[in-house]
């Protein structure tokens, strides 16, 4: 079985790399690679029509998930939305439960009830994803409030797309966080699109997300989301700013790009809703390629290890898929189980 949890950064530096930087980047890279391999496999096998639910792949956006989650401990909490595979995996979510969910199996993290848009693994600190845009933001705030009241030191993080910030619930949630002084982390993945709709149809040319956020009394940072080292560093900065100013929430915005269609297993740049120049710009900034180039510059010897790791991940995901495919579907008799909690 594959590792279910991201490699924690508190581990001692690996022997085979000399510098800590290289070591960290190597581990971040591996985690991104693992997620990429898994999602690619999902895309490849989707056409078999055995995963019978919508899938929103995060291929291209792995660096945000991995760079942010690298700072989180198991007990820290994460919530997400429709595009949550990467967050779930980076937070250490159980891969078999995820795949089983996509395959509609009993062993799925929701027993097959949710499909890809409803991932959950509370043991790994992944407290749930739902596909109504924006809706987990206040729920995550409530989780953070409960921890604060309990005197716990857990950090709660909500991942969402830039589209979610257009919903009124974003300002309401951020304001509540500021007023109630709940130090929660909001991670906005700005990939420029809400389905097919570009930002230019959703925000005025002079819209200023940073001052929007700060006007509430929240901290705000922004950076490149396809550079996992920058994501890692910026998240670290955000967390230390939060520690220095306790009770303040923080929003971090990362620019990024999805390489696949909004929903489904394919690519759709032929539809023409994204400009060729943009497409090219981002194609050159694949988060895995960026990290790989840098790693190889630091340590050329990693090249074969990369190939080996990829092969290993492929083997692992294929094994999971085969295991899941032979696992039972939910028992029809359980259909009405749990409408009410006992």
């Amino acid at each position: 079985m594959m590792a279910n949890s991201p490699v924690p950064l508190s581990q001692p530096p690996r022997a085979e790399t000399s510098s800590q930087i290289c070591d960290r980047l190597w581990r971040l890279y591996l985690e991104m690679l693992r997620i990429r391999v898994i999602e690619r496999r999902i895309a490849e096998r989707y056409g078999e029509k055995e995963m019978r639910c919508p899938v929103h792949l995060s291929i291209g956006q792995e660096a945000v998930a991995v760079g942010v989650c690298a700072h989180l401990r198991k007990q820290d909490k994460v919530m997400s939305a429709h595009r949550s595979h990467g967050h779930y995996l980076a937070k250490g979510g159980n891969i078999r439960a995820m795949l089983a969910e996509l395959y509609g199996r009993e062993a799925g993290c929701c027993g097959g009830r949710g499909g890809s848009m409803h991932l959950i693994d509370r043991e790994a600190g992944f407290w749930g994803a739902v596909p109504i845009v924006g809706s987990t933001m206040p729920i995550a705030l409530g989780l953070a409030l409960a921890d604060k009241r309990r005197g716990g030191d857990e950090l709660t993080t909500a991942f969402f797309g830039e589209g979610a910030t257009e919903e009124g619930v974003f300002t309401e949630t951020l304001n509540l966080a500021c007023v109630l002084r709940v130090p929660m982390l909001f991670i906005c993945e700005n990939n420029g699109f809400s389905v097919y709709t570009p930002l230019s149809l959703r925000r005025a040319p002079d819209f200023e997300f940073g001052s929007y956020v700060r006007s509430h009394g929240s901290l705000y940072f922004s950076g490149h989301g396809n550079d996992v080292e920058e994501v890692f560093a910026l998240t670290g900065q955000a967390l230390s700013a939060m520690r220095q100013d306790p009770g303040r929430p923080c929003v971090v915005e990362f620019s990024t790009w999805r390489y696949y269609e909004h929903c489904g297993p394919g690519q759709d740049d032929h539809l023409g809703y994204r400009e060729a120049e943009q497409i090219k710009h981002w194609a050159e900034r694949c988060p895995l390629a960026v990290a790989r180039t840098r790693l190889l510059a630091l340590s050329p010897a990693l090249d074969p290890e990369m190939t080996a790791a990829e092969k290993r991940y492929i083997r692992e995901i294929d094994a999971v898929i085969e295991n899941v495919r032979s696992s039972p579907m939910p028992d029809a008799a359980t259909l009405q189980r749990g409408v009410f909690a006992p």
Partner: protein, 358 residues
Amino acid sequence: MSDKSPTRELTFAEAIREGTALCLARDPRAFVIGLGVPDPKGIFGTTAELAAEFGADRALDVPLSENALTGLVIGAALGGMRPILTHQRVDFALLSLEQIVNQAAKWYYMFDGRGGTIPIVIRMIIGRGWGQGPQHAQSLSSWFAHIPGLKVVAPASPADAKGLLVASVEDDNPVIFLEHRWLHNMRGPVPEGYHRTPLGECLVARSGSDVTVVASSHMVIEALRAADFASAHAGVEMEVVDVRCLNPLDFETIANSVKKTRGLVVADDDTRQCGFAAEIVARVGEAGLKLNAPPVRVTYPDCASPSSSALAAVYYPAAPDLFLAAARIVGRGASLVDKFPKRPCPVDVPYLEFPGPF
């Protein structure tokens, strides 16, 4: 449950306040949150002095953000708290239905139990009074009762207000707690101490042999008035079933009553089409229960609630209408409706001293 002084009387609002205070005292995870919770009027007295007694962080005021606030209490509940959220009018809660319906109601089911439970109580004030008008006097009880995963409670007496509130806070599910504005100042005996009324049980509030009236919330009061009159003046014995909990629904009690009386009136403080009354009539029909006459729904007409007292007088059905429906079903006494005692106060207030303006 303790029942030391069953004759002690409280108002419905005081009973809610007492139940809430007991929950806050007993369970440190419980807190009350909502617009106006700690304010001088304390939501018609139902949250009065809770902040003073339990601290400002157990009785919280908030910005105007019904939607996010609902998400917040859902999350707090997932995190182990037991929030009681208040809305001064159900009409404002319309802003938060996405969270209530998609998230709170489904969470436990859709994550197959692994998402955890959402023990929240959402108090909503429904109903009329003092010309509130079209946007401050709705009920929408059938909306909530339509959603699997929501418990829906609508007490009619101070005792039940307390007992059902306590049970709602203890319940691990999201509970919609509907309070008709005309009930807050009504007095009645309320058991002392930590008193709980189980969710999901109808109450036969008055027994009778001739016709069954199924009612909830303030309509129970009207039904009891109708039954008193019917018994005293028309020799018609109306059995009044107080639904108390619209979901899960204790249909057995209703069915048993209808089997006995073979007559059915459903009284509902809501507009008619697709209202809760339709559900009761449908279930009785589906169950094949024999009726001596077609069932009757007594509801608001299908239009918004008007402000003017002249229109309110014809909009809201009351005891005489229930009596008339029952008498017609039984086939005697209908003409006595003219003898029904006049209301001791204008039609747009529950009693003469009703303070208004809300």
